[in-house]
């Protein structure tokens, strides 16, 4: 078998060295009731690459790739163009098959790119320090709230009605089982919620997404002040990280913690994972940050190098008293992010953001002309909410039958709310062409 190097001769020799007659003798501690006589039944045997490829390709062939049709889905995952160099570099064996840099002397590659990544995240978010990544934006959101609870010694979080419903559910799940309160504001379809009114002196944090799940872009400075006046922290969530190439960053608006989904940079859609959570905060809260941190230092010869640091916050040392149980970061996805951002640079990244916004403006203007369609947003970055004169989920199915992936119905994210059932989230990126927009518009004109 191609992945198993031992030969029968090897095995015989090794068993002799160990002093047992068979490998089964090494499993004596397995209770008799759990022992089996051979491979587990009901499962196929091994296959060569050709056979495995056929099976996997058959499965892949039953899916409609986003790049093959006009595509407008967003809602927390965005289709951007990733330069060819990124995938080539991350597949280098020294990156792909290395591990957590516990022996820093032979992990300077990983540690240096993590240091660069942390710097990039701090710059993008306008914050002082960032960690080496979380699993994704949604779990990062939950962790940010728990961090705010630790910092303020309070346990009541207020969640904006513009927060991605999955993120809110993840946070509520953490609230329910790790004993804090999460208060939800109603779905903020009009972009007009007043969160300041929900802050009291038991509030640890307010979590707001910018741009919101409905697309709105807001200046959060006043909200930040309202939070701070009551001793609460402002947590800003960013699900489309490309927006940070154009908008005032949350750090300049007064955010205390910023959580972002980094998938848009360097990482494919991948049906929802693996993604990469960005997490940044102020220096004074550094020791309360969950996750891994990479820090600069010197080696015995006085040369600059990097190490994982402040590990005593983490589970393998603090155990019960850890800041989080998190162990892994999203290494390879963080690498893809940092490589893509290095390729873009200041010029490329800001231009990419501008392109996204311009494409979305074109899309919004075109769709607004269709009878049966209202563009709800007065502000957006690259995603808008449409109010349709029909059920949005049905419209999306109809569009799919015409080979158009026309966006995400709000009912997919929020169930049991018929009054939201005619709302459709539609995103545009630099990969959206005028032909795509025309196709969507024509189809909608036909359907609605």
């Amino acid at each position: 078998m191609r992945y198993l190097p031992l030969t029968q001769d090897d095995r015989r020799g090794m068993l002799a060295q160990i002093g047992v007659g068979s490998v089964d003798a090494l499993f004596e501690d397995v209770p008799k009731s759990a022992r089996r006589s051979g491979p587990i039944e009901g499962l196929p045997f091994h296959e060569g690459e050709l056979g495995v490829e056929r099976q996997m390709k058959a499965l892949a062939g039953k899916n409609l790739p986003a790049g093959s049709v006009p595509f407008f889905c967003g809602a927390g995952a965005y289709r951007h163009h990733v330069p060819a160099a990124v995938d080539h570099l991350i597949q280098r064996g020294e990156f792909l098959t290395s591990y957590t840099p516990y022996q820093p002397e032979v992990s300077q590659g990983t540690l240096q790119y993590l240091f660069e990544f942390q710097t990039q995240v701090a710059l993008l978010t306008g914050m002082e320090v960032a960690n080496a990544s979380m699993y994704d934006g949604s779990t990062g959101c939950g962790e940010a709230v728990m961090m705010a609870n630790r910092v303020t010694r309070r346990s009541r979080a207020v969640l904006s009605g513009g927060l991605h419903p999955h993120y809110a559910e993840v946070t509520r799940t953490q609230a329910r089982w790790t004993n804090f309160t999460a208060v939800d504001a109603p779905a903020d379809v009009e972009g007009s919620e007043d969160l300041a009114a929900l802050i009291d002196d038991q509030t640890s944090c307010v979590v707001v997404q910018n741009p919101s799940v409905f697309g709105y872009v807001k200046d959060l400075s006043a909200l930040a002040e309202a939070c701070h006046a009551k001793g609460a922290l402002l947590i800003v969530v960013v699900t489309e990280v490309v927006s940070l190439g154009l908008l005032t960053p949350p750090g300049e608006m007064g955010a205390d913690i910023v959580v972002a989904e980094g998938q848009s940079i360097g990482n494919a859609l991948n049906f929802g994972g693996p993604y990469v959570g960005l997490f940044a905060t102020r220096e004074k809260y550094m020791r309360q940050m969950p996750g891994r941190l990479c820090g600069e230092t010197l080696d015995a010869d006085g040369r600059r190098g990097w190490v994982l640091t402040l590990s005593t916050r983490e589970q393998h040392i603090r155990r019960e008293k850890a800041t989080s149980n998190i162990c892994t970061n999203s290494g390879l996805c963080a690498l893809a992010f940092t490589i893509h951002l290095s390729l873009l640079g200041e010029t490329g990244f800001t231009r990419l953001a501008a392109l996204n916004h311009a494409t979305a403006v074109t899309l919004a203007d075109r769709l607004a002309k269709i009878s049966g369609v209202t563009v709800v947003n007065d502000s957006f970055f690259n995603e808008i909410t449409l109010r349709l004169n029909k059920d949005a989920a049905q419209v999306v199915e109809e569009l799919a039958s015409r080979n158009i992936l026309g966006g995400v119905p709000v009912s997919r994210l929020i169930s049991g709310r018929p009054e939201l059932s005619n709302l459709l989230l539609v995103a545009a990126t630099e990969t959206t062409t005028p032909e795509h927009i025309d196709a969507l518009a024509a189809a909608l004109e036909d359907i609605l």
Binding site: R287, S311, T312, I317, R318, K321
Partner: protein, 125 residues
């Protein structure tokens, strides 16, 4: 010194009237290695004998420091915030952690004197 006492958990206590100054012993800091950070209680906080009072971190370990006696925290050592290495350099002097106002002075009687503590660590070696 009659006013210097020790606990089984390697804290020292120097008594000045009704105030107790608390730190960790030289043996403790040797075991810990380079101290990188100290998390101190808040002034005004009530401490209970034997319960968590502070945390002292080295690179690879974080250890709880327990309150040797009941009391209320009156002062914490500002030096430790910027120079945690003071715990290594002068553990039983400038490396003190916090001061507490004793609420149950009788608890001091149960603590070890220096000779008894020296015997304890000699055993542990």
């Amino acid at each position: 010194m009659a006013n210097l006492k020790f606990t089984n958990d390697h804290e020292w206590v120097r008594i000045e009237g009704d105030i107790a100054i608390v730190g960790i012993t030289n043996y403790a800091q040797e075991q810990l290695g380079d101290v990188v950070f100290v998390e101190l209680p808040s002034v005004g906080q009530s401490l209970t004998q034997g319960k968590d009072a502070a945390v002292v971190e080295s690179v690879k370990a974080a250890s709880e420091v327990y309150a040797p006696v009941d009391g209320e925290v009156t002062e914490i050592n500002p030096l430790l915030l910027d120079q945690p290495d003071t715990v290594n350099g002068d553990p039983q002097g400038n490396g003190w952690f916090f001061k507490i106002k004793l609420t149950k002075p009788a608890q001091l009687d149960a603590l070890m004197d220096e000779a008894a503590y020296d015997a304890l660590i000699a055993d542990q070696h």
